[in-house]
Amino acid sequence: MDDLYREIIIEHYKNPSYRGHLDPHDISFADNNPLCGDHIQIDLRVDKDGKVTDARFDGHGCAISQASADLLIESIIGKSVEDVKKLGKQDILDLLGIDLGPVRLKCALLSLKVLKAGVYGLGEASDELVE
């Protein structure tokens, strides 16, 4: 259980590298975790080849949701949008390096859900995006 608050998480929570907004941006999407009110917004810049050239997140919430957003943004800069679409639950767990129960999993996956709803251009972020 101590794993849950590995230093990397506390570190990314307290000192995130990618917190902020991009203006202008090509894609922007935001959503809440209905269970706890955690909020994540993600802005992306995508070049003509479909590559993510820059990205930022903002929001509020628990260490897990905010740290996983920061780690996720870090991991996608330079990736193609097609690769971003392929990201799944396990990728987030790998980034965090921990295992999570179903409730905290929703915290961890919020940023990925927002990101994927954004790159797919959906009106709503749904849980199936991160199954």
Binding site: N32, G101, D127
Partner: protein
């Protein structure tokens, strides 16, 4: 493979119950509700004694465990009826609520005055009254597939009804009075060709047959845990995801929302959208255990065993003078035998059988229009399940002869 009924019966503590000293219960009322095996009872005890907690919103260990168990049970249920995704399973209280949920949401959002809904004459009140209420409120039209004298649906008449542009066809997969197994796949195919949505009342089929929603291509399937070795207080509605997603919510409250403001809300995604408030958590665990139990035996084996019993029961009942069994022959029905006995009211038959510990049901079995059709106010119904034996059929037959004696 034939069932090892002796070892199955050992798992049902109630089957050893003596209703009076020396008089063991002969439980022939499984169509009303099934008995529960020990693993189902114990799964719920384990929940209450070890990890009871409210779900979804909790991050502590008990809440995580309870949430996981609640969702795992949903997955088991989805798999049991071969639903493509667990989120297509909505927990309800029972079959009745499942059908009402569709009536209050899909139907109110999609049916206009004058729209045609096709039901059948053999429906349980649960698949009649919700549509009566809607007809009174909204002016929809109801038509009924007739039942033939031998208890089958008249498919020619159905085809004629289909030419009237129905919007919904809602029908039972197995009659709880006649035992008739309806040709659901064909009825659904024809309904879809006519552009209608379909609801199958699976209250009696899901517990007794292998039901495959993808093979049936049914849009909604309603069933109850308590009739399939599971607890009371929980049932399920299967719905195709695209339909469920497009439907407005039913009840408002906790868990069914994504966000609530003082004056408005955004609904959650499915299945949570339809599960307002603290759900039947212990019961979901019991429901999952019931599915495990049935899977361990195999639904094909359950159906085969019941077929053997009903064949024997029909044979024995029909040899009693004055007994008339309703419904089709054994090859077209499940383990249900509803009958009349000349000169004795079904209530009295049931009451006198009870002296011998024999538990049967008497009345209209929540299918009054069907009884009216057959010109009788009530029947006595014996029904069977995976724990039923031929000895119990014999006890029933002897019991009926005892009834004869009382009424002289």
């Amino acid at each position: 493979m034939s069932l090892d009924v002796t070892s199955i019966r050992k798992q049902f503590p109630i089957l050893n119950r003596e209703v009076r000293p020396g008089v063991k219960v002969v439980y022939l009322d499984s169509t009303a509700t099934s008995q529960k095996p020990e693993p189902v009872i114990e799964a719920m005890n384990d929940y209450y004694r070890r990890f009871n907690a409210n779900i979804h919103r909790g991050v502590h260990t008990l809440a995580e465990e309870a949430t996981a168990a609640y969702e795992q049970a949903r997955e088991k249920i989805a798999k049991f009826i071969n639903a493509p995704a667990a989120r297509e399973i909505i927990y309800t209280r029972n079959t009745t609520e499942s059908i009402n949920l569709v009536a209050y949401t899909w139907a109110r959002a999609n049916l206009k005055p004058g729209d045609l809904v096709i039901l059948t004459e053999m429906e349980h009140h649960s698949n009649l009254v919700p549509w009566h209420i809607l007809a009174a409120e909204r002016g929809i039209r109801l038509e009924f597939i007739p039942v033939t004298d031998d208890g089958l649906l008249d498919l020619d008449a159905y085809r004629l009804l289909l030419s009237q542009d129905p919007k919904l066809v809602s029908f039972t997969h197995m009659s709880n009075v006649l035992g008739t197994i309806t040709p659901a796949q064909e009825i659904i195919k024809l309904a879809h060709e006519a552009g209608a949505i379909t609801i199958v009342d699976g209250a009696q089929s899901v517990p007794h047959l292998k039901v495959d929603v993808q093979k049936l291509d049914v849009d909604f399937l309603a069933f109850s845990a308590h009739k399939m070795c599971g607890p009371t207080g929980i049932g399920a509605l299967y719905g195709k995801a695209n339909l469920l997603e497009a439907m407005p919510p039913f009840m408002g409250g906790g868990d069914m929302i994504k966000e609530v403001k003082l004056r408005s809300f955004r609904p959650n995604s499915i299945p949570a959208k339809f599960e307002a408030g603290t759900p039947a958590i212990a019961e979901s665990v019991g429901f999952g255990a019931a599915v495990d139990f049935l899977n361990s035996i195999g639904m094909e084996n359950v159906a085969a065993h019941e077929h053997e019993i009903i064949e024997y029961a029909l044979e024995r009942l029909e040899e009693i003078p004055g007994v008339k069994v309703f419904g089709p022959s054994a090859d077209k029905k499940g383990g249900v035998a509803s009958f009349t006995f000349d000169g004795v009211h079904p209530h009295d038959v049931a009451q006198i059988l009870d002296r011998d510990g024999i538990a049967v049901r008497a009345g209209h079995h929540c299918a009054q229009p069907l009884h009216e059709k057959f010109g009788i106010p009530a029947t006595t119904r014996a029904s069977f399940y995976l724990y039923s034996t031929k000895d119990e059929v014999d006890a029933l037959v002897n019991g009926i002869y005892n009834v004869k004696k009382v009424f002289g």
